[in-house]
Symmetry: C2
Subunit: 406 residues, 2 copies
């Protein structure tokens, strides 16, 4: 008998039929002998609808009240799911973040979990029941309702799995797992049976939207095995677990892409210490999260710094950079939102030289220019023209033979 945390996202509980299908699956897991803790998100478009109402009602939206508003969505889902489980003769009890003992800090709309006091969940499990917990929400040490920000329900599920020492945290979604590339771009992309936490982190950070970065980090730090799978087909999906060092590793596991970034270049900078520090401190002070940074020295003693930021941060990044032109002695700032980042991720890269060379050769053969490059031990990212991105993903997927299991 295992203890399983099952998390169902918004599309998995979008309407009455989907909620009944989820109840059916939970009931089958329970009858198979597993203890189950369920975590749910708000139904489909509920959160969007609440955000729209808030915008209609108010310009100034105090974050405490935003959290109160948004936390209503999961309550609806979990009550309905418990009712559907009652029809199937499964005893279930819903718990708000507060009732589930999910204690957070006091930072509204992006609170961090400090502690989980799981006594009520444990009591429900001990009596043979299924606790159904509201994802995305908690209660602060000041006794206010908080929400955990983007990907919050995944974080709730992983944190509960860690606290309860669950055997697995199953993340149900509308895709059937993690693929070697986006199947809409590469039809022969392969569903990966297993990836390591580190690979999943790089995949999540570079465009694979199936899991939030934060929940994968949490799972890695607390050794919670994740199983990402579909609530539409219910077939086995992708396991995310610690690196299996007994096996030969694929050099490249997945090709990801992200067309939401934009590039800013500050040109004609004097080539002296402190220039980059001044620029990136100013950006950090405006909460801009900079991704890639490249600096080239030129022969005339000046230098250019290019960096990428999320598209929605482009305007403020340009503004900050332009304001610094006099102070830094730069000659100008250019911005470009017409770029995309293509990344290769694979734990085997660490021990296989030559990946970078094959990547560059493959792109060059297609006439695709690489504008920026950054690497980690298990990732290579290239910034290219946006309209070349899909071709780049396809040719790299073929070059590294990702359609066939290694």
């Amino acid at each position: 008998m295992s203890l399983v945390v099952q998390k169902f996202g918004g599309t998995s509980v979008a309407d009455s039929d989907r909620i009944r299908a989820v109840a059916d699956h939970v009931a089958r897991s329970r009858r198979a002998g597993d203890d189950v803790v369920v975590v749910v998100s708000a139904m489909g478009k509920t959160t969007d609808e609440l955000v729209r109402l808030a915008a209609e009602v108010s310009f100034t939206q105090p974050t405490r009240e935003v959290d109160m508003l948004l936390s209503a969505g999961e309550r609806i889902t979990m009550a309905l799911l418990c009712m559907a489980l009652a029809d199937l003769e499964v005893t279930a009890q819903s718990f708000t973040g507060s009732q589930a003992g999910i204690i957070t800090d006091n930072v509204h709309t992006r609170a961090k979990i400090i502690e989980i006091r799981a006594e009520r969940l444990l009591a429900t499990l001990a009596s043979g029941g299924v606790p159904v917990v509201a994802g995305f929400q908690g209660v602060s040490t000041d006794r206010n309702i908080t929400t955990l920000g983007r990907g919050g329900s995944d974080t709730t599920a992983v944190a509960l799995a860690a606290t309860l020492h669950a055997d697995v945290c199953e993340i149900y979604t509308d895709v059937s797992g993690v693929y070697s590339a986006d199947p809409r771009i590469v039809p022969e992309a392969r569903k990966l049976a297993r990836v390591s936490y580190d690979e999943m982190l790089e995949i999540a950070a570079t465009g694979g939207r199936v899991l939030s970065l934060r929940s994968v980090e949490f799972a890695r730090n607390h050794h919670v095995p994740l199983h990402v799978r579909s609530s539409f087909t219910w077939e086995p999906g992708t396991w995310v677990d610690k690196e299996d060092e007994t096996m030969e590793q694929a050099v490249v596991t997945a090709i990801t892409h992200d067309a939401t970034e934009a590039k800013v270049t500050v040109a004609g900078l004097p080539d002296r210490p402190g220039v980059a520090a001044r620029l990136f401190r100013a950006l950090a002070d405006r909460n801009v999260s900079v991704d890639m940074i490249v600096q080239n020295a030129s022969l005339d003693g000046t230098t250019a710094i290019s960096f990428t930021v999320p598209g929605f941060d482009l305007a403020v990044s340009t503004e900050v950079s332009e304001a610094l032109i006099p102070e830094l002695g730069a000659t100008g700032v250019t911005s470009d939102s017409n770029v995309a980042r293509v990344s290769l991720v694979g734990a085997g890269m660490k021990t296989h030289p030559g990946v970078t060379a094959l990547t560059f050769e493959t792109l060059a053969k297609e006439g695709i220019n690489i504008e920026m490059i950054s690497t980690s031990t298990i990732r290579i990212s290239c910034v290219v023209r946006a309209d070349c991105a899909e071709t780049a993903v396809r040719v790299l997927h073929t070059a590294f033979d990702l359609a066939n299991p290694s």
Copy 2:
């Protein structure tokens, strides 16, 4: 400076425009120097929509989960109202039933308030803020979320007003007060400036739907003055307060009617002790709430008992009565849903004989037959044919000259 509890029902907060209008009114009350505590219901049809979803998802609806589901509605309203107040530079904080310290018993879907621990509300008031409290909900001594049943938001408002020793509890709704008769039936009906708690109880019990019986009882027991008024015109409405014994009282204050009752007659009963007891015990055991009871002895030693019940209890009442025919030795049971009850309410009746006589004369003159009669010290109720009810209300309103202030 007064402390005012303002309660806004579903129609008063039905959409973004209404919520902003309510915020505007609260802000004006605050600027006029009053301390304000707000209680809100769910927006317009939200509760109906949640009930519909529950019916789609499940046959067996555990009441604990029904309460979890329904309590989501007020959270949405109160968060939105606090946001709208922020736009008007009024500091407001929303509180769930649990956060407001509304402690109830453990009876889901119709919980009773045991205690209010108002520390957080008092702290918000002390700092100059407006607490906005979810009506209709509380937290049980078992730490589960409960709802208070029909009229629950009114009860929340009155209970808070009692606990906080508020100067008045204002109940905002979509009508402008309590009228001498339903203005849709009697166009010249007059808005009453003031009624006593006892009159309001009789009016609420006999068809005046503007306040729930329970909230009026609570207000009477705790001496909370109520002011029922419109959130559409904002004009002064009707005060409900203790009887003013220094003033001459109107003999009749209002004429009410209720067409939702039905009549059951058990005929040919032996005229001996215990027969009625057996019948009404059996009905009570099925949770039927019997309203009027009339028993006539006949010359042949048998008797007939007629009683009225809410229309939705007619089927079970008939079934219970028929099952008792052999045991009681009755000759038969007839039922009739085509009846209506017309009532006259007035504190002055206590000291003015002749009201009954004028009532009977007025109805007789119109050829309206009275099928059953019941009276209290300040009320006379007559059961008539359903299609005579509106005429009865009109002629009685004229006979007692209710269109003119007494």
